[in-house]
Amino acid sequence: MHQQPLVRLTEVTRTYPLGRVQVRALTGVSLDVARGDFLALAGPSGSGKTTLLNLIGCIDKPDGGRVIIDGVDVTNVPLHRLAATRRDTLGFIFQTFNLIPVLTAYENVEYPLLLQHLPARQRRDRVQYWLDQVGLSAQARQRPDQLSGGQRQRVAIARAMAGEPKLVLADEPTANLDSVTAARILDLVEGLNASTGCTFIFATHDPALMARARSCVRMHDGALITEPHLEARAS
C-alpha cells in the first residue's frame, strides 16, 4: 500500500523583504519526504535550505503553495496555533545548539517533556534514557557553558529526540564542530534514524553529511535542482 509522505510541499514560494528589495527565497518548491527518511538539503548559502526547513518546521509561513505535515495541511494555520504540532511532531537541532543556558543538560532534555505534560516518573526515565543514548549521563547536572561544543550538540539531539517526534529538522548541525566531533554526531543521528525510524531532514553543505544521507536534495536560488526519488529510496 502506498504510504502517505510525512512532509508534502506543493509549489511553495517564499519572498523576504530585504530593504526595499524583495528576495525570492523559494520559487515554487515541491517535495515529498517519506517517513523514516534521512534526507540532506544541500546547497550553497542563500540557496533556500533554511527557509525550506523553517516552513517544514512550522516556524514560518509560505507566500504560496501548500505545506502538509503528517497529513495535516498547516498552510493557513497561524504559527502560534502550531505550537502543539512543533511540540509533539517535530524536533529541532540548531547549528548553534540553542540550549537554554540557565538549565542543566538534564533540564534542557526535560523541557519539551514538561511542555508535553508527561508525568514525572515517565519524564525522568525518558530524560535518563536519552542522555544515556547520547553518552552524557555523567554530565546531566552540568549547564551548557560547562560542556564542549560536541556535548552541547548531543544534548540538543537528546532534547530533540526526547519528545519522540516523527520528524527532526537539523540546520547545519555539524557546522560549528570539528571534523572528529562532527563524525561522531553523524554516527549518532544515523544510528537514531535506524533504531527509531524517526525522519531526519538536514540543511547542510557538509560533504560528509551529504555522503551519509539516504537521499539528498540539492537547492540553488530557491529551487530544487535534483528531483528526489523518494519511492526508490524508501524501497
Binding site: 523553517n54 518546521g57 516556524i59 514560518d60 504559527l79 502560534h80 505550537a83 502543539a84 512543533r86 511540540r87 509533539d88 524536533g91 529541532f92 540548531f94 548553534t96 540553542n98 537554554i100 543556558p101 540557565v102 538549565l103 533540564e107 526535560e110 523541557y111 519539551p112 514538561l114 511542555l115 508535553q116 532534547r159 530533540a160 519528545g163
Partner: protein
C-alpha cells in the same frame, strides 16, 4: 519549570539585577521611612493637640456654635458640677475640666498689650498641660489672681515671676472691669505667635474679671483616643435622656491644623509614591527589555520547540514578579533596619515654621506602611514587565532564531 526558569534568569545577569533590586530597595525604604515618619507625626500631633488644647470632647450650651454672642459667655454653661458628675461615671473618661477664653488688655503701668487668656482649673490644666514653664511656678490651686504668662508677652511687659500686672476686659454685662494679677510663672508653648499673646489664669480669676459664674466649655479627656466616637454617642444619648440643652464637638472637628498637616503629608507621601512607582517601572521595564534583547534567540528556540506565546509571556511576567518580590523583601529588611537606627540615634530636626523648638526624628513602623511599600514594589515591578513580556511573546520565531 517556568518558575525555575524565571528565578534563574533573574540571577543570570547579576549586576543588572542587583542594580534593579537596589532601585526597588531604595524606593521601598523611602516609602517605609517617610510613611513611618508620617505615622508618628500624625499620632504625636493628634495626641499633643488633644492633650494640650482640645481634649477629646468639648461640651457647650446648645446654640454656642451658631450664635455670635454679643456679650462674653452669653452661651455659657451654668451647672457644670451636675454635668461633670454625670460624665465622670464613665470609666473611659480620664478627667473633665472647665474653661473660659477671654481677651482684653494687659498693662504693667507703663505700657499695655492685648492678651488672649484661658481661664482654667489649675489641677485639670496640669493634666493636659501643653506648655513648658521657663520661669516661676505653675498656676497655684487656690489663688484666683495668679497667672502664668507666655514668654513673648512677658518679655513685652518686662514681667518676671512675682511682678504684678493689670488685666482689663469686658464683663458679661458689657461693662469694663480690671483686676490686678500676680505673675506666678512664664511659659512657652512652642508657637511664637501664641506665646506673644497668651495668658493662663485660674477659672475663678477669669470669672471674677468677667463677673460671672458660668464657664464657656467643659473639656472631656479620655484614656484612649480610639474611644472618642463611642463616648460621644453615649453622651449624646445621656443628654437627650436628661433633656439637657447641650452641644458637643470632638477633637477632630476642632483640629483644623491637624487635618491640614495630614492633608499635606498625605500629598507628599502620594507624590513620593508616584516618583518611586515611576522609577521602579522604568528600571524594571529596562531590565526586562534588555533581558529580552539578549535572549531573543533563546525565546525563538523555546517557541520553536513548542512553548506557547502565553508561556513566554508568563515567564517574563514571573521574572518581573520575582524582581519585585526580592526587591520588596530586601526593601522591608532595609527599611526596618534603617528605622531602628534612626530611632536609636535621636536625630533632631529643626523647628517647623512658627515653632521655637526642634523635635526628634522618629519613624513608627506600622504593618500598613510595610505592606503598602512591599505591595507597591511587587505590583510595580510586575506591571512594568507586562508590555516587555507581551513583546517577547509576539516575537517572530524565524526572526528571533536569526537574532545575533
Amino acid at each position: 519549570m517556568l518558575t525555575k526558569l524565571a528565578l534563574r534568569n533573574v540571577f543570570r545577569n547579576r549586576r543588572r539585577s542587583a542594580i534593579t533590586l537596589l532601585v526597588i530597595v531604595f524606593g521601598a525604604v523611602g516609602l517605609i521611612l517617610f510613611g513611618g515618619y508620617k505615622a508618628i507625626t500624625f499620632r504625636a500631633l493628634r495626641e499633643s493637640t488633644i492633650r494640650s488644647r482640645l481634649g477629646h470632647l468639648q461640651i457647650y450650651k446648645l446654640g454656642f456654635e451658631k450664635a455670635e454672642s454679643k456679650k462674653p459667655l452669653e452661651y455659657g454653661l451654668e451647672d457644670v458640677a451636675q454635668l461633670r458628675g454625670a460624665i465622670q461615671t464613665d470609666k473611659r473618661v480620664r478627667m473633665t475640666t472647665a474653661q473660659i477664653t477671654l481677651m482684653g488688655l494687659i498693662s504693667n503701668g507703663d505700657k499695655s498689650e492685648t492678651f488672649m487668656a484661658t481661664g482654667v482649673e489649675p489641677i485639670g490644666d496640669r493634666g493636659m498641660n501643653g506648655q513648658r514653664l521657663t520661669a516661676g511656678t505653675d498656676l497655684p490651686e487656690h489663688e484666683a489672681d495668679a497667672i502664668i504668662i507666655g514668654r513673648g508677652l512677658a518679655a513685652s511687659m518686662h514681667a518676671k515671676p512675682g511682678d504684678y500686672l493689670t488685666l482689663m476686659s469686658t464683663t458679661t454685662s458689657g461693662s469694663l472691669n480690671a483686676i490686678d494679677v500676680r505673675v506666678a510663672g512664664i511659659f512657652m508653648s512652642g508657637v511664637k505667635e501664641y506665646d506673644d499673646r497668651a495668658i493662663k489664669m485660674p477659672l475663678a480669676g477669669a470669672q471674677q474679671l468677667l463677673q460671672t459664674n458660668k464657664v464657656e466649655r467643659l473639656i472631656v479627656m479620655l484614656n484612649d483616643t480610639d474611644d472618642t466616637a463611642a463616648v460621644r454617642a453615649d453622651l449624646t444619648t445621656l443628654f437627650a435622656q436628661k433633656h439637657w440643652a447641650l452641644e458637643m464637638k470632638d477633637w477632630s472637628q476642632l483640629a483644623s491644623f491637624y487635618h491640614q498637616v495630614v492633608l499635606l503629608y498625605n500629598g507628599i507621601f502620594g507624590f513620593i509614591g508616584m516618583v518611586v512607582f515611576g522609577i521602579v517601572i522604568f528600571s524594571v521595564a529596562n531590565t526586562i527589555v534588555m533581558s529580552i534583547f539578549e535572549r531573543t534567540r533563546e525565546i525563538g528556540t523555546m517557541m520553536a520547540i513548542g512553548t506557547t506565546r502565553s508561556s513566554v509571556w508568563r515567564l517574563f511576567l514571573l521574572e518581573g514578579l520575582f524582581i519585585g518580590l526580592l526587591g520588596g523583601i530586601a526593601g522591608l529588611l532595609a527599611g526596618t533596619g534603617l528605622s531602628s537606627v534612626i530611632n536609636h540615634i535621636h536625630l533632631m530636626l529643626p523647628p517647623p515654621p512658627g515653632y521655637t523648638q526642634g523635635y526628634p526624628l522618629r519613624v513608627m513602623l506600622q504593618p500598613g506602611i510595610l505592606i503598602t511599600a512591599f505591595l507597591i514594589a511587587v505590583i510595580t515591578a510586575t506591571l512594568s514587565s507586562i508590555l516587555p513580556a507581551l513583546k517577547a511573546s509576539r516575537l517572530k520565531i524565524v526572526d528571533a532564531l536569526g537574532h545575533i
